[in-house]
């Protein structure tokens, strides 16, 4: 009776390890719990003990081998009178077969087996483990994945969360082909095989997630489904972060005069007309983008081209109770600040009330994220692909500035520009942001240049 020694599951997430020491040799007699070999995972070195008394019949690994969890590393001959049993010629194919559980031994041998033999009739709840199904995708109340039962079954069989598959059929219907191409693209991304074709739209969907540990081991947890916005944000941010080499350039703009003008303007304005710093920044950025057209582009690696947009549509990040949304102000370069302010106030209000359609959020060529109202000294925004640059705005503070004779109070607004370094070089990034700061310091420049 030969017993297979397998690499045990040592801890969550560890799938393989390296054999660092083999403590026994073929023919050695071993006792229960005697160390057979040691293997190293990226977390620890683990000694694998013998589950029973016996003789080492075969060692299937060598020091230095990398072995996955569950692999057979040794064969142990039960000490229960091995001569009684005719040696069973084991066809190699059988050895390869993953054996789920050892078959109950014949009664004579069983008596000497130190391993507790389960009562045959009372199985443990193993069927659950035998066909692990991700039940998280079942009964997700609100929006169901538009796929036929046969397609959903295929996705389950392949271990695909159907909710992550983008359908190509009418109304977003998911076909069998969509599920298969999702698997293909995901595999390509993970294995790095070949170029990944853009599947549908800009975002190919899932970003590989490592298996999560069982958090409940360490305390109580609850789960809530991702809102659609959160799902899209996670997708967009994950895609941008993992594909775009980004650099953030920091600078400070002197905005005392602009702010004084803004305050004065708003004293006379009604609420819809209220002029915000963001509206001014939209105008300044639009002018800057005209001066630096590469910041208004997208990179098309597949065709080795830079797509230069002849329009300037500026997205403005709006904080809503449901999450971050980025509505877009069209043709910002062709509108005056007053018009932009009015449009921005209206669009921001509608966005907060979730009353804008998806079309309003499409087509942006550059984005402004103003956290000035919340606070903070500076932050690093993430480029909103396929755009190539984004401007982050932090809270303006009064700071002393030496004018040659004395310190004068100046309102200083920290700005941070993150750009796609594949498209934009460092010096250009610095120049672009400086241009914006200069324009804010001396707004006349806008008129002179714009």
């Amino acid at each position: 009776m030969k017993h297979e020694i397998k690499v045990p599951e040592v801890s969550e997430g560890v799938t393989e390890g390296t054999v660092v020491d083999i403590s026994v040799a073929v023919g050695d007699a071993v006792e229960v719990d005697q160390t057979l070999l040691e293997f190293e995972t990226d977390k620890a070195v683990i000694a694998i003990p013998s589950p029973q008394e016996g003789k080492v019949a075969e060692i299937k690994v060598a020091v230095g081998d990398s072995v996955p969890v569950g692999a057979v590393i040794m064969l142990l001959e039960s000490s229960a009178s091995p001569s009684d049993e005719a040696p069973v010629p084991e066809p190699s194919a059988e050895q390869e077969e993953p054996v789920a559980e050892e078959k109950p031994s014949p009664p004579a041998a069983a008596a000497k087996q130190p391993e507790p033999v389960k009562e045959a009739a009372v199985p443990d709840a193993s069927p659950a483990a035998a066909n692990e199904v991700d039940l998280a995708t079942v009964r997700r109340g609100d929006r169901v994945a538009p796929a036929a039962p046969s397609v959903r079954r295929l996705a389950r069989d392949l271990g695909v969360d159907i909710y992550q598959v983008q359908g190509t059929g009418p109304g977003g219907r998911i076909s069998e082909g969509d599920v298969r191409s999702f698997v293909r693209v995901t595999m390509q991304r993970i294995t790095g095989g070949g170029s990944v074709p853009a599947v549908h739209g800009e975002f190919p969907g899932l970003h590989a997630q490592r298996p999560l540990p069982d958090f409940s081991k360490w305390g109580e947890v609850s789960r809530e489904p991702l809102s659609r916005i959160r799902e899209l944000t996670a997708d967009a941010m994950g895609y941008a972060w993992s594909t775009i080499p980004m650099v953030t350039q920091y600078d400070q703009a002197q905005v005392s005069e602009i702010e004084a003008f803004r305050q004065e303007y708003n004293r006379r304005a009604i609420s819809e007309n209220r002029l915000t710093m963001t509206a001014i920044l939209v105008k300044v950025c639009a002018a800057a983008l005209k001066a630096f057209p590469r910041f208004n582009s997208s990179l098309d690696l597949a065709s080795k081209e830079l797509v230069l947009k002849q329009y300037i549509h500026i997205g403005v990040a709006v904080d809503t109770p449901a999450g971050l949304l980025v509505p877009v102000l069209r043709d910002a370069d062709r509108k005056g600040i007053e018009t932009l302010a009015l449009e921005l106030n209206e669009i921001a209000e509608k966005t907060r009330e979730r009353k804008i359609g998806p079309d309003v959020m499409e087509g942006g060529t550059f984005t402004i994220s103003n956290l000035g109202g919340v606070g903070g000294t500076s932050f690093t925004p993430i480029v909103y692909a396929p755009q190539v640059a984004i401007l982050g705005v932090s809270t303006a503070t009064l700071q002393p500035e030496w004018d040659g004779e004395q310190f004068v109070p100046r309102l200083i607004m920290p700005l941070s520009l993150t750009y796609d370094h594949r498209v934009i070089d460092g010096a250009d990034g610095a120049r672009f942001l400086r241009w914006i700061c200069d324009a804010l310091d001396n707004p006349l420049q806008l008129v002179m240049k714009g």
Binding site: A128, D142, A148
Partner: protein, 468 residues
């Protein structure tokens, strides 16, 4: 049929309850190569559905339909004499139907070599059952996996004697011991309306009392109004917003006092009162407390997406596993449980579970309702097609009916389908398929529907979405 009178020591898969959930699970499990033991107190499988529910009520509704069609055919020039109803024969015909169906199931159980135990089972612990057969044998059985499918039973009003002859539940109503001169149906849900329709056709004066402000709570009001227009003519009265305060059985009838929403009390005497206020799951006397199986707040067994209870090797399906308490939901769950028990990656993930009210006209719906869309603030557009212009409707001598499509305005996907009218229960199957296949309205419009049929109303409703 041949039944095992001996209690086997062990079972690979034991199924407790042989209603639609239980027998469907048994058949599927056998197909998957499992060794199945099925336990139920009845002689043959069938459960409430076949013995005291769907099937007998539909048989009686067919009688009702014949009566009312014969009467209405005057309008189109065919006059019949007043029907003579041989109650004895009606009852025996109904029982014959039940006998054929349950007998058929019995022989299928035999053919598939399922061990059928007539009796009741109770958990001794999570791996053992104590079984008491109908002939009094008591024994124990160890099982590897189990499927609980013990169904539900009617809820009685508190304080009403269970054995009363005048105050009956749906089971008593289906026995039709006699046709009372007057009948009060307590509860305006589908069971009350279906049985009320049967008794009205048999010439009882039927009144319905419903606590809420409308019949068929949960169903869209526009569909209900199609039905109510007709029921207003067939029923003596329909009292909404009215609560039954007291039911007193007297020698020659039942005195019922009811309070409406203006706090006015009415007292009325009826020959019989049918209580149809809902059903509750049969979870008692199963020894569930000996396992870690949990019940939810409403008393249903808590299950996961594979119909597993907190004990992963014990499944629960059908009425005890939650709303809606419908036989076809049990069928669906039965297949999932049987497949999961055999190690398949099955999950219960339907896009729609159709609901059908077998009144005249029938009402059927599946997927999202307009009411639900409003409550959950889901944006929808609808197409509502009255049947007045449908050729087949008119040739049937009818003009009442409506087909409604509920559509996602963004994707044009069908989110719900609802039908009111004769044959609605048959038509809704197309809606279910549409939901499962995630069709868009154009798919319905491009599918050629046979002419002249009622199914064309679905096509025509889809067509409405394109006319602007």
């Amino acid at each position: 049929m041949s039944q095992s009178s001996e209690i086997p020591e062990k079972a690979q898969l034991v199924i407790i309850g042989a209603g639609p959930g239980g027998y469907a699970a048994a058949f599927r499990a056998v197909e998957m190569g499992q060794d199945v033991t099925l336990i139920d107190p009845e002689v043959n499988p069938g459960g409430v559905c076949l013995h005291r529910g769907c099937i007998p009520s539909k048989a009686l509704l067919h009688v009702a339909k014949l009566v009312s069609e014969a009467e209405e055919s005057k309008e189109i020039g065919v006059t019949f004499a007043r029907p003579k109803i041989d109650l004895e024969r009606v009852r025996s015909w109904k029982d014959e139907v039940i006998g054929k169906l349950t007998g058929g199931l019995g022989s299928k159980v035999d053919k598939l070599k399922i061990t059928y135990l007539r009796g009741m089972a109770k958990f001794k612990d999570a791996h053992n059952l104590t079984i008491k057969t109908t002939d009094g044998t008591v024994g124990e059985m160890v099982f590897e996996q189990a499927i609980l499918a013990t169904g539900s039973r009617p809820i009685m009003l508190p304080g009403v004697a269970a054995e009363s002859e005048r105050i009956i539940d749906s089971t008593g109503a289906l026995d039709i011991a006699e046709v009372p001169a007057s009948l009060l149906v307590v509860g305006g849900g589908y069971i009350g309306l279906e049985l009320g329709s049967v008794y009205a056709a048999l010439e009882s004066k039927v009144s319905v009392v419903e606590m809420t402000d409308g019949l068929l709570p949960g169903c869209d009001r526009d569909l209900v109004s199609v039905l109510k227009r007709r029921l207003d003519k067939k029923f003596e009265s329909i009292m909404l917003n009215t609560r039954v305060e007291e039911i007193k059985e007297q020698k020659n009838g039942v005195m019922v006092s009811m309070v409406d929403n203006k706090k006015e009390t009415t007292k009325k005497r009826f020959d019989k009162v049918l209580i149809a206020i809902g059903r509750k799951p049969n979870t008692e006397n199963l020894g569930l407390e000996k396992t870690s199986i949990k019940l939810d707040k409403k008393g249903f067994v808590e299950v996961d997406g594979q119909m597993r209870t907190a004990e992963a090797h014990i499944f629960a399906i059908g009425d005890i596993a939650g709303e809606p308490m419908l036989a076809h939901k049990a069928y669906g769950e039965a297949n999932v449980a049987a497949e999961a028990a055999a190690g398949r990656k099955a999950v219960f993930d339907p896009r729609a579970i159709p609901a059908v009210v077998f009144t005249d006209p029938e009402i059927a719906w599946c997927g999202l309702t307009e009411t639900e869309a409003r409550e959950r603030k889901i944006k929808v557009k609808t197409a509502k097609l009255p049947w007045r212009g449908n050729g087949r409707t008119l040739t049937l001598g009818r003009d009442d009916g409506m087909t409604k499509l509920i559509i996602d305005p963004e994707t044009d996907r069908v989110l719900g389908v609802a039908v009111a009218g004769p044959g609605a229960g048959e038509l809704i199957a197309e809606g279910v398929l549409a939901m499962e296949m995630a069709v868009v309205s154009e798919d319905l419009r491009k599918s050629i529907h046979p002419h002249p049929t009622l199914s064309e109303t679905i096509y025509d409703a889809a067509e409405m979405l394109f006319k602007r």
